[in-house]
Assembly symmetry: C2
Homo-oligomer: 451 residues x 2
């Protein structure tokens, strides 16, 4: 299948915007070379066994114009203790980037600026194989070597194109908020299929679970919709973080783009934030009961926050459903505040609830049930089919009441739980319009959903 | 296990009321003998090959005082055609009971009065075995012969006691309104276990499905909670009509009666009819939404009406549940009018409903779904997990609306459907108090449920 003239035209227009200009590339590589040389000089000075290398998309010419992070890795010998590695790593970083700040991922590293570029200076161990890494940053040089040996100017250009396409469809990024496609995964897919259009063709026809193994060395099975065995580590799925929804989204938009290529699809407008009036209109049109729990989020990075918010939302959904409330859709928002947002189709319950007892023939249990409910049931015990049944008084008849009194009893993310213990607001119905100033855009994404 | 003094005392008091007085029995047997002789005389006169016998509980001394039906069967030779049998049968009936009226079950028969007793004069075929019957009435003489050969004055007395007990717990009668224990079944159970108390002991410990086979000749399996193989027909379950609820009810009350014998349990007061105020109190306490469909019932006997009402109720329940409405309990009432009565816990739905499409990867279906909903969905299509989803406008948002517009589209009993086509009232909420004059007692049984 070939996209045709219109496809080529659109792709050219996108390339125009994603391919870094010659001048930008030269400046970046010059700066990177200087940084490497400076880091090497510090290592000499410290007399420690290490080497320096530029890695990442800017090292491989696969960065999208504007995303100009320079990643410099300092690889230390494995004879160093972790404490030594961290100390030397920060020394190199601080001397190369005296105005930088120390950041913490798996190791501490130094992040700063040089010539207008964002620079990360990251210490890692120089291990013999990607399967022997001590922390995930040790893997990066192997990925870099693998890709650098295989990418050509053409495929690197197609990586840039595919990355932009994924950004356009909100599926780019392996952070745990997005759960999309990482840069490395993007590059492997382009290499695997041969180019941008070939990736779209292939993705259009995927029948998940999809398993790709470029080096044909994987033996582990994974329970993910997309499995791409890491060429540098047979036991790792590069696409493990990719949510089923993002696989489906790529399939949907790949088909759409092949059928109707569009520059705008790669550079979409932001969602127009909804106004309070917009929300009121939606609520009137839907006749559902929205419920928002707003609180001060714990002071953790997004990669820790979002999984906990989702776990908390799931816990709340389960709690509500066990009480007989019914949920149409739900989501989480986070910015200065965090929000668990649910839209209920059944938000109130009657004052009695059915409670089934044992079959009448199970005499021992039957006797216990009858004794228990002889006086405490509102109605019954009576017999339905072969069982005892009572109708009990409900303690909670409104979803809002459940949230106000029972939220801390459902399964919550640990730090979200602590944050909720400090208090939370419950907004119900039209009161959710109070979220507009902070979350108008997120509400647009919720109330005007797209694939 | 033995019931003890208190048990004996209560049983004696019940026997007092259920054992027919000597005078009543003598009068009845005299009348029956006269009827048999008169029928034989008519047969002689007609010169047809037939004999006459008294059958049923009054023939076996197992009738409960006050239930004084005399059943006289005229058994014709199998060489007669069915038309001949019916003609001769009515001739005998009309000459013996000149003031009687013709009734129609499987055959026509004559029903009338004599000396204050209700008399049925029923024609049947004289077949060689119960397995060769042409209609179910042909079986009766075999049942009669089997039981008469085995019942003693003691066991006959215990049958009367057990029948009264079953009446007291509302489980006596094999009509399709009650779906309880027939007279024949009651007698077989007393014979099987040896007496009234032994039946209660056994029933207390039943683990349904229970299978009894007095003649040890059954090979067919039945999917009923209680199976009693007919001693006169190995392929018939005498208890086929008994509802699981009535088996459970017998178990429950057998345990209760053994633990705490009570004359009142055998002769319970009628349910006090509820007043409109009672119903309003219940509804307030329950906070549910009752919905009653009232209509003129089809002109059929109860054994045809009740199964159809139940089937119609089930069809309506299914229809409502498919629309997302939720039902706590439901029942049917019938007297001059018929009622499908439901009590809803969810009686309204929002204006949108979730509708799941195909997984995105099923390209052919996915395309069809997208085309269908490109413009017609209220929200979406969007992706959830690996599927397309839309939120559609609901056509029906209230249970009442569903009943008013869609009742005739659900699975209904055939003659009930015809009756509903002529029109029906829908009563919702406190409006169901309008049922009180006709169904106050039935509503008491619903709103004050007992085992």
């Amino acid at each position: 299948m070939t996209g045709g003239d219109r496809f080529d035209e659109v792709v050219s227009a996108v390339r125009e915007r994603v391919d870094p200009a010659e001048e930008e590339r030269r400046r970046l590589q010059r700066t990177a070379a200087t940084l490497v040389a400076e880091a090497e000089a510090v290592i000499d000075d410290l007399d420690v066994d290490a080497d320096v290398l530029q890695v990442g998309s800017t090292a491989r010419e696969t960065w999208v114009s504007g995303d100009r992070d320079i990643d410099i890795f300092v690889r230390f010998d494995t004879s160093l203790t972790r404490a030594e590695l961290e100390r030397y790593g920060l020394q190199v970083g601080n001397r190369v980037l005296p105005d930088g700040r120390e950041e913490y991922a798996e190791h501490p590293y130094v992040s700063g600026q040089r010539d207008g570029f964002d620079v990360d200076l990251v210490p890692c161990y120089r291990v013999d194989a990607a399967t022997e890494i001590r922390s995930s940053v040790d893997r990066t040089p192997f990925h870099d070597r693998y890709l650098s040996a295989r990418l050509t100017p053409k495929t690197a250009g197609d990586v840039r194109l595919f990355k932009q396409f994924l950004k356009g469809i909100r599926a780019y990024g392996s952070d745990l908020k997005t759960r999309g496609f990482s840069g490395y995964l993007t590059e492997l897919l382009v290499l695997e299929y041969g180019g941008f259009e070939a990736v779209l063709d292939a993705a259009s026809a995927w029948q998940p679970p999809v398993r790709l193994d470029p080096e044909e060395h994987g033996s582990t099975t994974f329970d993910d919709p997309l499995v791409v065995i890491d060429p540098t580590d047979p036991d790792r799925n590069v696409a493990a973080v990719v949510d089923a929804k993002n696989v489906a989204r790529l399939q949907h938009y790949a088909r759409e783009f092949l059928a109707e290529p569009s520059v705008d699809r790669c550079f979409p407008d932001d969602f127009d934030p909804l106004t309070e009036a917009d929300i009121r209109n939606h609520l009137e049109r839907r006749a559902t009961t929205p419920l928002a729990i707003r609180f001060d989020p714990p002071d953790v990075v997004d990669d820790q926050l979002y999984p906990q918010l989702r776990r908390s939302l799931q816990g709340l959904r389960t709690g509500l459903e066990q009480q007989g409330f019914e949920i149409l859709r739900s989501t989480v928002f986070a910015d200065r505040t965090a929000v668990l947002f649910l839209e209920l189709t059944v938000a109130t319950r009657p004052d009695v609830e059915r409670h089934e007892g044992p079959p009448v023939h199970v005499e021992e249990h039957a006797r216990g049930f009858l004794e228990k409910y002889a006086d405490s049931a509102v109605y019954g015990p009576f017999i339905d089919g072969d069982r005892y049944v009572v109708e009990r008084e409900r303690s909670i008849t409104a979803a809002r009441e459940f949230v106000e009194t029972g939220l801390l009893d459902v399964a919550l993310g640990a730090q979200v739980e602590t944050a909720l213990e400090d208090g939370y607001d419950v907004l119900e119905g039209a009161a959710v319009t109070a979220l507009v100033p902070e979350f108008g855009g997120a509400l647009a994404r919720y109330f005007e959903p797209m694939p």
